[in-house]
């Protein structure tokens, strides 16, 4: 039903949002220091295209670097934690404790260690985003059907065999599902760190613009963040669908 409308809907809503925003700003005569109208924001984007692009790129690469570290580390730790119930039980509280520390609080420490720059941003992105990957991979491994494990063990399969043939493939939908969450978090981590202490990146750009009362530029930075965030989310979502399509199809398995 109404297929074209459905595909167009996201665009229509986005454009509609900007139109309403623009109209509201003009109608109520909102000062551009408080809330700049989209037209001003787009104008600022045009004017400052070069610094915006440059800083967007910095944020993109710090996010990606932190995210890739989180993927590698999260996958390994997840496999380790999911390997046995004892490790799972022992490490889980530690990880929960670590995860409940707001990462903003860690940034000053990272700055003390590594100085102002890109390293704290990368590390913040990493620290904030590896947790969901670990938990998801470990959950995927820990929830192997016991009967299936019996089938394999009765054949003489080792723990490693069970993991390779069943555990790891089974954990993959969990893993790829967690990437969507992780990339968003990594992005948050990188920008938070840039806002506090950095000399490049969108967070830094926005803080600078804010202290100069260049509100259109601040909002242009926000828009750039949104676009980047959507882009990265889309890539991981696409990856998920492509790598583990079976998990979605098998849910809608028909009987008869």
């Amino acid at each position: 039903m109404n297929k074209p409308i459905e595909t167009l809907a996201p665009w229509l809503f986005t454009i509609g949002l900007f139109v309403v925003w623009e109209l509201a700003c003009r109608l109520f005569n909102v000062s551009s220091i408080i809330l700049p109208a989209p037209s001003e924001i787009f104008a600022a984007m045009g004017r400052y295209a070069s610094p915006l692009l440059k800083n967007s790129f910095v944020t993109l690469w710090t996010t990606m670097a932190g995210f890739l570290m989180a993927v590698a580390f999260g996958l390994l730790l997840g496999l380790f934690v999911g390997w046995s119930r004892t490790i799972y039980r022992g490490l889980y509280p530690v990880m929960i404790g670590f995860n409940s520390i707001p990462k903003v609080a860690v940034v000053p420490i990272l700055v003390m260690w590594f100085g102002i720059g890109e390293v704290p941003a990368i590390l913040t992105a990493f620290l904030i985003s590896f947790f969901p990957i670990v938990v998801n991979v470990a959950t995927g491994l820990a929830t192997i059907e016991p009967e299936l494990e019996d089938v394999l063990r009765a054949l003489g399969a080792s723990k490693l065999d069970v993991m390779r043939k069943v555990g790891i493939p089974r954990a993959m939908p969990y893993f790829f599902g967690s990437l969507k969450v992780a990339i968003t978090l990594a992005f948050v981590g990188a920008v938070v760190s840039e806002t506090i202490a950095a000399n490049a990146g969108l967070g830094h750009l926005m803080t600078q613009a804010g202290s100069n009362f260049q509100m259109p530029l601040v909002f242009a930075g926000l828009l750039a963040l949104a676009v980047e965030g959507i882009g990265m989310y889309a890539v991981t979502a696409w990856l998920e669908g492509r790598m583990t399509g079976w998990a979605f199809r098998s849910q809608q398995s028909a009987g008869g």
């Binding site: 059907e145 054949l155 089974r170 993959m172 079976w246 098998s250 809608q252 028909a254 009987g255």
Partner: protein, 259 residues
């Protein structure tokens, strides 16, 4: 083939140790089709795990093939109430899973893959699944999945097949159909079968020997030979002697449930 001598098994429950099996003795000859029936929760599945070496008895001895069981026996095929096929593998690849684990197939898996594939295909044919090898499990009905699961438990030509209520989740017609499939495969390959079931007709139709277990803690309280001539047709289920046997088994179980 299988020998349990006075085997007891207790496991740690939430409120202290729970005795699942108490002094169970059973023996199954090579090539025999044995069925184990009993009230629910009587430790039938525990019995399966003991025989395959997945759990160790608290006391008593388990022998398979004349040797005491010390770890997983490595020669058993197993199938359960749920087909438990891997959804990311096609039916054929699911069937070949045991070959990737059990020796001698394991070491020659890469070189002889085509041969093994052909074997899997022919096994699928015997259960009426020809042409479904490249489908994914979720594209199959429950009965078809169960057939595939049965094939997976047989692909490495195990000397011992352990079935834990494999047909319990199926409708009556599919179930009877699969009884015949199992009967034919067993008669052709002549492995040893232990079938755990709730279904007395299933036990009586398929088995050479029916063992009745008591309520928990489980022990074998009666063993009955089933001597309907083989090959049995499904019509045997409608003969008076068959009904008598099923009734007798039923009464026995009703009796132990009371106790």
């Amino acid at each position: 083939m299988i020998q349990l001598d006075d085997v007891s098994l207790a496991y740690a429950g939430r409120t202290g140790p729970v005795l699942a099996l108490d002094g169970t003795s059973i023996s199954v000859a090579k090539g025999e089709f044995a069925a184990v029936v009993g009230p629910s929760g009587c430790g039938k599945s525990t019995l399966m795990k003991l025989v395959t070496g997945l759990v160790k008895p608290t006391s008593g001895n388990v022998f398979v093939n004349g040797e005491p069981v010390r770890g997983p026996v490595k020669l058993a095929g197993m199938a359960f109430q749920n087909a438990n096929l891997l959804p990311w593998r096609t039916v054929i690849d699911n069937l070949m899973l045991p070959l990737e684990i059990v020796e001698p197939y394991r070491s020659s898996f890469r070189t002889k893959k085509a041969e093994y594939r052909a074997r899997a295909e022919s096994l699928l044919e015997t259960v009426g699944l020809q042409g479904f090898g490249d489908r994914f499990p979720w594209e199959l009905s429950g009965g078809m999945q169960q057939r595939a699961s049965l094939c997976r438990s047989l692909i490495h030509e195990p000397a011992l097949l352990m079935l834990d209520e494999p047909f319990a989740a199926l409708d009556a017609f599919t179930r009877e159909e699969l009884w015949c499939v199992l009967r034919d495969v067993w008669q052709r390959l002549n492995f040893t079968v232990v079938l755990v079931t709730h279904d007395l007709r299933e036990a009586a139709f398929l088995a050479d020997t029916v063992h009745v277990m008591s309520a928990r803690p489980g022990r074998i309280i009666e063993t009955r030979k089933v001597d309907f001539p083989r090959p049995r047709s499904i019509d045997v289920c409608y003969e008076p002697a068959f009904s008598e046997l099923v009734l007798a088994l039923r009464n026995k179980i009703a009796e132990v449930r009371q106790a």
